[in-house]
Assembly symmetry: C2
Homo-oligomer: 204 residues x 2
């Protein structure tokens, strides 16, 4: 095909985006060139700026352009409650609920010996050191409810068995707004096992 | 939410892409930063290069980084057959079939008096001048089969009624691989009106 080489380059560069195949890349490139050249330029600048300046927070390993991220630096947040997550996407999801006021620790993955990902790659030493310093009251393990996520949560809980810190796991159960009929067996079993009393001041 | 400002900027810049909402933009930004920083940088460069260098071909109005695009310059193509299209995307679609060996003329839109788009905006003067020069044998009107596309094709045919050039319209009918059952009435009517004889050397 007799395409302009720069256009061809743009189309193939757009395929670096997740979920963008050849057809969408073509549509995106033409849209930008025909209707939104200003948007294309801002995107170019934003990409360069982000790649060059965004590293990771030294304390929680979240994406941040400063050494210590905004969440870790925020004095109004309870630094004694640490939520342990697998990735920055999960952190965003939790932040967007607006319901959590502690701080985070991002593992950037989960234990996966087959891929060579052990405790070291997940920064667990750093997490354990923070717990050892003694200012942590609770560690909320919010890794994904997958086999690897569960294994990672288990490993962390195991390692901190001797410490005085409270270790909790987020609840698994029926999603709000879901229907029992469509929930899988494993989730239902978790929902029953994790049932709570509705009588005041009493838990099953 | 306590997001890194550069990350936030990147997410909103990604929304310039067609079909990308806030969730996809977030996923794209995190994917690039966590897994494909090199891809992000190439995309940044490709965007800048494309926006700065790609203009339109002086002859056919297609996107091109040179004054005359590769198709118009290609000596092996039949410059006497001009395919008139609404947009560069359509041109790409036709080029990808590999079955057309003429040249193109891109209108970059269709007649739409309500939006202030008349013959001038579509470069029709330029097209008619090219026909008047006398080296054109056929003009294939391949505007979209929409009301505006049909009106545009009609207008062009009307204006060139006096010239000796052959003016054709692409066939409308049942898409190859489609099923009659699911084809709308208008298309079916076109398919019947445009039927062709299967006997050798005879058309209905």
């Amino acid at each position: 095909m007799n395409l302009s080489p720069l256009l061809q380059e743009l189309i193939s560069a757009l395929r670096a985006l997740p979920g963008v195949g050849p057809k969408s890349a073509q549509r995106m490139a033409l849209h930008l060139l025909e209707r939104d050249r200003r948007g294309a330029l801002s995107l170019s600048v934003a990409l360069e700026q982000a790649v060059e300046n965004i590293g990771e927070c030294r304390r929680c390993r979240n994406l941040s352009e400063r050494e210590i991220c905004a969440v870790c630096e925020d004095g109004t947040r309870d630094a004694s409650v640490i939520c342990v997550l697998e990735s920055p996407v999960d952190l965003m999801a939790v932040e967007q609920t607006g319901g959590f006021n502690g701080v985070y620790f991002v593992l950037k993955g989960h234990l996966s010996p087959i891929d060579g990902i052990g405790p070291e790659e997940l920064g667990l030493e750093q997490l354990f050191a923070r717990v050892d310093q003694g200012n942590v009251s609770e560690l909320i393990l919010a890794t994904n409810p997958t086999v690897e996520g569960e294994a990672t949560a288990h490993y962390i809980a195991e390692q901190l068995q001797q410490s005085s810190v409270n270790i909790t796991r987020i609840a698994h159960g029926v999603p709000v707004g879901g229907e029992l009929e469509f929930v899988d067996g494993g989730t239902l079993a978790h929902a029953f096992a994790g049932r709570r009393s509705l009588k005041r001041s009493a838990d099953v």
